[in-house]
Symmetry: C2
Subunit: 192 residues, 2 copies
Amino acid sequence: MPDENPFQTLIELKTGVISPPVDHVIRRLSDIKTIFRDRDAAEQALTGEDPTVYEVYNVPVPEETGQLQHCTSVIHPGAVGDEYHMTKGHYHARRATAEIYLCLRGEGILLMETEDGRTAHLRMSPGTMSYIPPFWAHRTVNTGNAPLVFVGVYPGNAGHDYGSVARIGFRQRVIKGPDGPQVVAEEGAVRR
Amino acid sequence: MPDENPFQTLIELKTGVISPPVDHVIRRLSDIKTIFRDRDAAEQALTGEDPTVYEVYNVPVPEETGQLQHCTSVIHPGAVGDEYHMTKGHYHARRATAEIYLCLRGEGILLMETEDGRTAHLRMSPGTMSYIPPFWAHRTVNTGNAPLVFVGVYPGNAGHDYGSVARIGFRQRVIKGPDGPQVVAEEGAVRR
């Protein structure tokens, strides 16, 4: 039976900020420095300010089947060494759940992989609606000069598993190439 | 296990048209004339052209738990008598499933109700992200002069039940009032 009421938030389409204020996660470089391959560049960057790499605005919804989690993500432009700013990346705790990303602003690349070793990537730009099927881990990379802003929607019971990606890394990275962003295979050491 | 590949569509943010071409539903006035309260006005309008009231672009996704159906809807501006153009309205076949509407363009009102008689409405404008909780029927009304364009996302297994609304109508209507759009209670006859 219906025990919830309809509600609404407002996304500022240019910045991705959601109002009224919702759960706001800020990931600074110091929080996620180990995800970048150039550890020296990360430490070097941290001798100055501690830049915000990305932010997530999460609208709270019951963590139940049939509900829909939704959020905006804002990845700020920048790089650590030759590697663009990116999210930590994660699987859903309940693997058999999809996610949709609708890009509102900016340019980026969505990296995806499965536990059995498949990889994929999609370019993001305003209006792209990317479908991350069940079982695919996902990480998003800002390859442009402006914030990369996108809306994410996923099943209420999906949950997050950041540990798997933190342990074994991602099979692909996005680096600054001579002709622009380049998706490259991760080097051997990290993939155990 | 992962048996699907990631994929992407592109929404033209101004028109709501999705490319590459996907399932495209066109609802003309002749298809839905019985949803408007002024039957004479509907018949009168049909003596001329048969206007398109709304269109839906559906991205095909497996109808399974954990997947996410997604579509754009475009409600063209106009009215039948004093009642604005609107969608048929429906419950989800599996009632315990939510839906999210992200408005990209235009102005409108989202009408909602439950089988046990509760009603609600939300104003839509660009950037509004409306949450239709499980168990709430939903109908969308274009109250502006431009197309009302929005993205809908809902659980893969939700399904549609148009029959319940077709049989008993909606408890609220949106009509042109002296000071703009007005949400009014449906008159007795239709609610059996």
